[in-house]
């Protein structure tokens, strides 16, 4: 039953998305507090779930793929609530909410083993490593959201075909390119600290996971440094890299779970 707040949170995010989609379709969309309120409510419910789960297992709830997905969607909403006000608040939410709904629906409905592993002795470095790495992926997810918005707006401007509501509510492309870059930078910094703290963990970490973390770090660093490629390619790369990272994260955890069995 600890999943109840999570189900309610998913409904909040779904409501936020449906509301914005409806308002955009009817052309009556204006920046409103509704998205912010529903997203914030969903965030509180997510936090409640993570708190219950953390209390139950006596550690940061990042012990299986289900928990990783929930922690990831929590990080995405946290970053949205932090960076959203700097851009067009509700429309960034409109793009973030379906991503969060998708991740949480997969977590809740897909056949993912959710067997929490209680603490065998607390290691703050391990928890720092895991938490910062997942928050970094949250930043990469938001970078891909900003990248997606950039590509939509850029296409509208290039082809002169405007979907009026989308066009008017979208931020300027230069703002989206800046948001994309800053979120990539934040993600790389967080992942750097996350990986470094992994080396401080007393117990031995799974070398495959650690190596993959290093590979993703290198990929994102390369994207970050490739600014001369232009904002369009960077936006595209940030979407591809995030899709790759989330798929690999699932694959690796699946393999680790299978090995444990």
């Amino acid at each position: 039953m600890d999943r109840l707040p999570l189900i309610l949170a998913t409904f909040c995010f779904l409501l936020s998305f449906l509301y914005t989609a409806y308002m955009l379709k009817t052309g009556g969309h204006r920046l409103s507090r509704f998205n912010l309120v529903t997203m914030a409510l969903g965030f509180l419910l997510q936090t409640w779930f993570l708190h219950i789960r953390g209390q139950a297992i006596g550690r940061c709830p990042l012990t299986n793929f289900f928990e990783i997905l929930i922690f990831l969607s929590w990080s995405i909403v946290l970053l949205y609530l932090l960076v959203g006000p700097a851009y067009r608040l509700s429309l960034l939410g409109a793009f973030t909410s379906p991503l969060v709904v998708l991740i949480q629906t997969v977590a809740l409905l897909a056949p993912i083993r959710d067997v929490p592993r209680p603490s065998m002795g607390s290691d703050p470095w391990l928890e720092t490593h895991a938490a910062l790495s997942i928050i970094a992926y949250g930043a990469f997810a938001m970078a891909s959201v900003a990248g997606g918005m950039y590509l939509i707006q850029e296409r509208q401007l290039k082809t002169h075909h405007f979907h009026s509501s989308f066009f008017f509510e979208m931020p300027p492309i230069t703002h989206l390119a800046t948001a994309n870059h800053r979120l990539l930078l934040a993600g790389v910094l967080l992942l750097t600290v996350g990986l470094l703290s992994g080396f401080m963990v007393h117990a031995s970490l799974n070398p495959v996971k650690l190596a993959w973390g290093g590979v993703m770090w290198a990929i994102y660093l390369a994207i970050l440094l490739a600014r001369r490629a232009g904002p369009r390619r960077i936006a595209l790369l940030s979407i591809v890299a995030f899709s790759l990272s989330i798929t690999a994260l699932w694959g690796l955890n699946y393999l680790v779970e299978r090995t444990r069995i």
Binding site: L157, K158, H160, F162, T174, A177, P231, R232
Partner: protein, 367 residues
């Protein structure tokens, strides 16, 4: 109590007729007071803009008020085509039709709400009219010709206009070449204050477009023209710098927006010229507005990353789309207005003792 409206507008009368009835700002208070003192008229407001001249009155006896108002206007129109004080009598108007429209009761309330919301404007949804009505009301109020009924009516009209603006898309979308260019520039750059603009070929449309950009914050401007004197004159007028025509492409790397309208018979801005410039500035877009016919800019320029090219046809097409969106919104606006007209008319015709029990719903400030 009744609300009446008698007026002429761009829909009913030519500019020659309208200008003869127009009331200048300096005469507004005096004429308001004169009309307010006519038999049957208790309160009055005059709205006089370049597109309309309207006399609003609150009256306990509508036929008497109308007759005296018409007699007043027939006796002497308040203002004068030639400025010599001789107005145009109604008898001098074209015989074939009456230029005035006369509205009474709910129709006059509906009309004011529509005018304030921009539905009766030449450019549907324009917002300048609201400011003009506010000013007209303030003048009448200052002259002491408004009281309870017109005060409430005009305050209500301002609220309705605000609601129409926030709850519908009637003001959305640019409807002129200049405003489309500004909208697009803001969707590319955000704030236009740091943007540098180059005008290539000092034509009238390019000047208007540049002025529209300046009105949104553009500060840095270069002007280049085959005639350097003309470039220098325009640059001087607009607070920019003039560039010799054979040097304009050397300044490409500095600019964010190019407005081109030369008389060149072939494209002078080509991908070959722009590609090296864009390569050096991969994270800085370039907005190219080609107003020339034949076009100054090779269409292939739009394929370069970071370059957004719009020619005169595409700008006009977007302006027409904006206009079409506004026309589609009219029905939604009318639904909103109709509700407020009903409520106001109920209040107006209610027994004074019962009026306190009729409450207008609060119009939300945010949609």
């Amino acid at each position: 109590m009744n609300v009446l409206c008698l007026g002429v507008s761009h829909q009913t009368a030519s500019v020659e007729v309208r200008e003869r009835f127009a009331v200048s700002e300096s005469q507004l208070s005096r004429i308001s007071r004169e009309i307010g003192a006519l038999p049957g008229i208790a309160e009055s407001v005059i709205v006089s803009t370049c597109n309309r001249v309207e006399f609003y009155a609150a009256s306990p006896n509508a036929p008497e008020a109308l007759a005296s108002l018409r007699a007043y206007l027939e006796e002497r129109s308040p203002v004068h085509a030639n400025g010599n004080g001789n107005g145009l009598a109604a008898s001098e108007l074209p015989a074939e039709r009456e230029p005035f429209y006369i509205l009474n009761g709910p129709a006059s309330i509906d009309h004011l709400f529509r005018v304030a919301s921009g539905l009766e404007s030449m450019v549907i949804g324009e917002t300048e009219i609201l400011g003009q009505i506010k000013k007209a009301y303030a003048t009448a109020s200052g002259a002491g010709t408004t009281a309870r009924h017109l005060n409430k009516l005009f305050q209500r009209a301002f609220n309705v206009a605000k609601e129409v603006r926030t709850k519908t898309s009637i003001t959305r979308g640019a409807v002129s070449v200049g405003s489309v260019a500004v909208d697009l520039a803001e969707k590319i750059f955000g704030s236009l204050a740091p943007c540098r603009v180059m005008i290539l070929g000092a034509g009238e449309t390019s000047e208007l477009t540049a002025r529209a950009l300046q009105s949104r914050g553009v500060k840095s401007l270069f002007v280049s023209n085959r005639s350097y004197d003309r470039a220098a004159r325009l640059a001087g007028e607009m607070g920019g710098s003039a560039i010799h025509f054979d040097e304009w492409d050397r300044h490409f790397s500095k600019i964010d927006i190019l407005i081109s309208s030369t008389a060149a018979p072939h494209a002078i801005v080509t991908p070959e010229k722009l590609a090296p410039v864009m390569h050096r500035r991969p994270n800085r877009p370039l907005f190219v507005i080609d107003l020339a016919v034949p076009r100054d800019v090779d269409a292939a320029v739009n394929h370069l990353e970071g370059v957004y090219l719009y020619d005169i046809d595409s700008l006009r097409a977007i302006a027409n789309q904006g206009l079409a969106v506004r026309h589609r919104e009219i029905a939604r606006c009318e639904d909103l207005i109709a509700r407020h007209v009903r409520e106001f008319h109920e209040w107006l015709t209610a027994d004074p003792a019962q009026r306190h029990s009729i409450h207008f719903p609060v119009i939300s400030k945010e949609a």
